[in-house]
Amino acid sequence: MPTDTATRASAQIGEQTLLDMFWIMLLSRRLDERSWMLHRQGKIAFHISAMGHEAAQVAAAFAIHRGVDYVHPYYRDLALVLAVGVTPTDFMMSLYGKQADLSSGGRQMPSHFSNRSLHIVSGSAPVATQVPQAAGLAFAIKYKQRCGLVDPNDTTQPRLALTCLGEGATSQGEWHEGMNWAGVHQLPFICLVQNNIYAISVPVQSQMAVEHVADRASAYGVKGVIVDGNDLLAMYDVMADAVQRAYSGEGATLVEAKTYRPVPHSSDDDDRSYRSRDEVEAWKRKDPIVRFQRYLTDEGLLDPAKIDAYEARARAEVDRAQADAEAAPLPAAEDALGDVYAPVEG
């Protein structure tokens, strides 16, 4: 990735797109905050948060062909899926387990994102299972191109598979095997590790004996890159490069975004037993949204009035999403029985 400012991919981002990225981060944050509140109010059973990870996720989404390239996300990817096209209402429906939940019809816990028309693949809870599956998606892309089933230059077709997970999940054999396929077959595949230095309570030092997850890339013949995941533009540069590699047949990239989760692991967690308040506060000062807002303000793209307008819009969207979700019907009890087998044709 070129470090020269002018030739950086992020330097090519248009002003409106920069504001769109800001907007998605802000929307994700406000939706996330509301979800925590709804949990405290006892209105929902569970929430797991993207807070702190927004820059890494939004940059990743904006670097790919959103809605066309395959995305196989993990539970923390709220900002990412919002950037791809999931709406706050979609998310609220899943929080409330409503029938209109697009990802699973209320069958899955919240944050198990899925949207077939947006090419967001349904995830499960066992960590890292998505990684070799995403390698399979990337394998299919290459297969179709090489076997003449699609035109490699057809930009209406998926041209890469992006998958995400936490640093802890890289301890799983599933991750190893997925990375290995991506390397052996030089697949159009990007693995974005969001390293927030904890797996629930377990610090990264108990997870692996290397300093950086990206140090593991070389074991797979895959390019590894470390980036400050709280720096949206740096993150975009790295992702743009990985996307370029994927599109041009150069192979897979492992992107390690260094970040932090300033809140507990999920609404079931209490993080006071495993980390100091000082540490948390220090990281809060590196908040990616505050940082990008400052940047945009410095660049003259934002000012307090504009920010207020975004905030108001975010509040309104979240309010409406919540209201819609609260008003929506629950699934019928018997919906438990549906979709076990797809009907066989002919």
Binding site: A45, F46, G97, K98, Q99, D101, S104, G106, R107, Q108, M109, H112, S124, A125, P126, V127, G168, A169, S171, Q172, G173, E174, A199, I200, S201, V202, S206, Q207, M208, D268, D269, S273, Y274, L330, P331, A332, A333, E334, D335, A336, L337, V340
Partner: protein, 328 residues
């Protein structure tokens, strides 16, 4: 005698066994300072140190395999799988390795380890935080599979499991971790792995259950006793592997009718084995069809409340099934 929750009894058993035998150690995700996501190991890291209460990498197959290796070297690992749903990555290690080592080595190598896993639904956990996994592992001769349903048994069976020279999969009904309370003596005791327990004596029909369903079955039995004068016997199976065939057949010898209840899905659930035992060894005593009340054949417990309730057996559904069977 103190009244204690099920999870406190589990913790107490581990604490006692660690105090008793320096070879006992705990590993698993978040078992250290965090005390486990359910707090089953709370305080043990502080008491026994990071050497003996070891936060593992996020990797179940190696939690089990490292435990197995340590057991081969004569330690006594207690491996925690955070949710039973996440045991599947370790399937190969449990099925191919842990359960077969003693047999394949002609009795040379022992694997004295315990694998603890909270299991079961009804907690808004969706497909991946609600699973019952006993059906897979009761098809693994060489392994023992234990499911306590009371604090008394939870303590006594877990202590037996830690001391057993064989590998034991110890499934804890997590919905009952705090809601199930019961008397636990102060003095030490163990409960043997193997025999089922008669949770309620009765003569009209037999209900076989375990875990949370053993409680629901007793509640249902009390209800039909009160409301319909039906006297159901409830057998809490407790040890699922090896199968306590005698307990199963003896109860039906007395009652003539059997209802088997579990929250796991239907086809090839554990009830099938109980039914098959009865269909052969119990055939002569049967006065009615062998009934199974289970979760439906869908890939998992759905999250959203109406669907979850539809999935899960409960005291009312059990009572209804008892009435139907009694009327046969």
């Amino acid at each position: 005698m103190a009244i204690m929750t099920l999870i406190d009894a589990v913790r107490m058993a581990m604490d006692e066994e660690m105090a008793r035998d320096p070879r006992v150690f705990i590993t698993g995700e978040d078992v250290g300072p965090r005390g486990g996501v359910f707090r089953a190991t709370l305080g043990l890291h502080e008491k026994y140190g990071g050497e003996r209460v070891v936060d593992s990498p996020l990797a179940e197959l190696s939690i089990v395999a490292v435990g197995m290796g340590a057991a081969l070297a004569d330690l006594r690992p207690i491996c925690e799988i955070q949710f039973a749903d996440f045991i599947h990555p370790a399937f190969n290690q449990i099925i191919s390795e842990v359960s077969r080592m003693y047999y394949r080595s002609d009795g040379q190598w022992l694997v004295p380890m315990v694998i603890r896993a909270p299991y079961g639904g009804g907690i808004a956990g969706g497909l991946y935080h609600s699973q019952s996994i006993e059906a897979f592992f009761t098809h693994a001769p060489g392994l023992k599979v234990v499911v306590p349903s009371t604090p008394y048994d939870a303590r006594g069976l877990l202590k037996s499991a830690v001391r057993d020279p064989n590998p034991v999969l110890y499934l804890e009904p997590k919905k009952g971790y705090r809601s199930i309370k019961g008397e636990v003596p102060e003095a030490e005791y163990t409960v043997p792995i193997g025999p089922a327990r008669i949770a309620r004596e009765g003569g009209d029909l037999s209900v076989f259950a375990y875990g949370m369903m053993a409680h629901y079955a007793v509640q249902a039995a009390e209800k039909v006793a009160r409301e319909d004068g039906i006297d159901a016997e409830v057998i809490d199976l407790r040890t699922l592997l090896p199968v306590d065939k005698d307990a199963i057949v003896n109860s039906v010898k007395k009652t003539g009718k059997a209802l088997i209840v579990h929250e796991d899905t239907h086809t090839m659930g554990y009830a099938a084995e109980v039914a098959a035992v009865l269909g052969d060894d119990g055939f002569e005593y049967l006065d009615g069809p062998i009934k199974r009340l289970t979760g439906p054949d869908v890939p998992g417990v759905p999250f959203s409340h109406p669907m979850q309730e539809y999935f899960m057996p409960n005291p009312d559904k059990i009572a209804a099934a008892i009435r139907d069977l009694a009327a046969y």
